[in-house]
């Protein structure tokens, strides 16, 4: 475990674990442990990838070194199994290709596959949420089958619509808002990944499992 300052108001606790189930279990466990028993001055705890970022208010912390020790002590005595039993499986319906998936053919051609093969591989994957960020509700998903890993586009698009599903390198995900984006676009989901009006605005949490399911254009249009 290494602690690295992130500016003067946060510290990144790198756990040195993988991003498989066991690794994310540890990340989530450490975040929960810190949440349950917050050291003084800690204002926010955010799990992401193989680390947990702890945001603090230096006026409420009894010294930075002390904060780091308090974080380490809590992180070292983590129980994770309780949390993992509550991990969720979330299904995301996707209409592949068409206007929402302008790059599907290119992704297929690059992989030497048909568009249907790409869809089969993408829906066949069992994904884990490694982090939420980049935009509200955006989930970084691990578990994309290697055959359809596709480098980011050299020129990002200035506006990708909300609900667009993309592939960027070894990652896949859904754009929760209209934002610029450099990923290859393969489809579109009617599900809202982020809704400020919901009790829990982000659909996904770090550690959740995700499956994509193919729907057709009629189902997409009729979705409510």
């Amino acid at each position: 475990m290494t602690l690295t300052p992130l500016g003067d108001s946060a510290v990144v606790v790198a756990l040195g674990c993988g991003l498989d189930e066991a690794g994310l279990r540890r990340v989530r466990g450490v975040a929960e442990a810190l949440e349950r028993d917050r050291p003084a001055g800690v204002v926010e705890i955010v799990p992401a990838f193989a680390s947990v970022t702890v945001y603090y208010d230096v006026t409420q912390v009894g010294g930075y070194e002390r904060l780091c020790r308090e974080i380490e002590v809590r992180a070292e005595r983590v129980e994770t199994d309780d949390w993992w039993r509550a991990a969720r499986l979330i299904e995301i319906p996707v209409c592949y290709g068409g206007y929402g998936g302008a790059d599907l053919a290119e992704v297929a051609a690059r992989a030497g596959l048909s568009a249907d093969d790409v869809v089969a591989l993408h829906t066949g994957g069992d994904y884990l949420v490694q982090a939420i960020g980049f935009a509200p509700g955006f989930a970084y998903l691990g578990g994309l089958p290697e055959k359809i890993h596709t480098p980011r586009r050299t020129t990002p698009r200035t506006a990708v619509p909300a609900g667009t599903v993309g592939i960027g390198g070894a990652q896949t995900g859904v754009y929760p808002l209209m934002t610029p984006g450099g990923w290859n676009l393969i489809g579109r989901t009617p599900v809202l990944l982020f809704d400020a009006g919901r009790n829990e605005p982000a659909l996904l949490r770090v550690g959740d499992r995700v499956k994509f399911r193919a729907i057709n254009a009629e189902e997409l249009a009729a979705w409510r």
Partner: protein
Amino acid sequence: MAITVIHAGMLTTVQDLGRRGHRAAGVPLGGAMDAMAMRVVNLLVGNAEDAAVLEFTLTGPELVFTADTTIALGGGDFGAGPLWQPVRVCAGECVKFGAARTGCRGYLAVAGGLDIPVVLGGRGTYLRAQIGGWEGRALRVGDVLRAEGAARQVAGRWHIDERILPPYSETPKVRIVRGAQAPEFDGTLTTAVFKLTAKSDRMGVRLVGPALTRRVARELVSSSVVPGTVQVPPDGQPIVLMADAQTIGGYPQIAHVISVDLPLVAQLRPGDTLRFREVTLEAAHQLILDRERALALLREGLAQKIL
């Protein structure tokens, strides 16, 4: 009391001290770009420091007040009246802000604070997700905002000690602490002069200068970023992340602007230049503690003068 927008200005939004507790859902901190100016103008009208204010950019709005009240202006000078003191406005009075004479962002606090619903723990406008503030967007002509408070009684004539304010400049020295990838770069960041480009907004300011070259080609796993993070994309031109920055970024992090100097960056206009100077984390912490002590003294002093 209501405020009617006659002209909206270039980008006028409701802001506060930001949202806390939603970064795990990917929601940025947000809030005023120059949080120090925003806190001071609130104190000057007897508000809590985090009351909702207006933030305007490069060209300010024109506003009509429907009742007597007290306002305070701060940050950049938009030519609408004295900065950093309570100002009485009367019912029907029009306050017209022009182009910024100094700085980039102006703040207007009104007694009682703007009456804006809390969304995800904040009243600030987060434009990218269209949440918070006034209907999740920048103000437009015809919008009518409400504020709770009546005019304040201000005792005597006085000025605040302006040494409490950041040393605003068009050519500031901005202090940084090291970022996780600092060892992968040479010392150019702290020796060169960087110019602010027009491709700068509430998410981040883009700088141009001599390209910062990374000695390592390894692609990074994305990781947390904060307002102030100086990231270096492949073209070597640094970006300083600001209030509305995303919570996670994939570019190398060469440095982080220290909290007390972020207002200096927030007030730069395209074409202004800055230099970076490295300080220790301990120094950055001490500067925050000093600033908070100074603000506490100001708060106490004003409590006697604003009723």
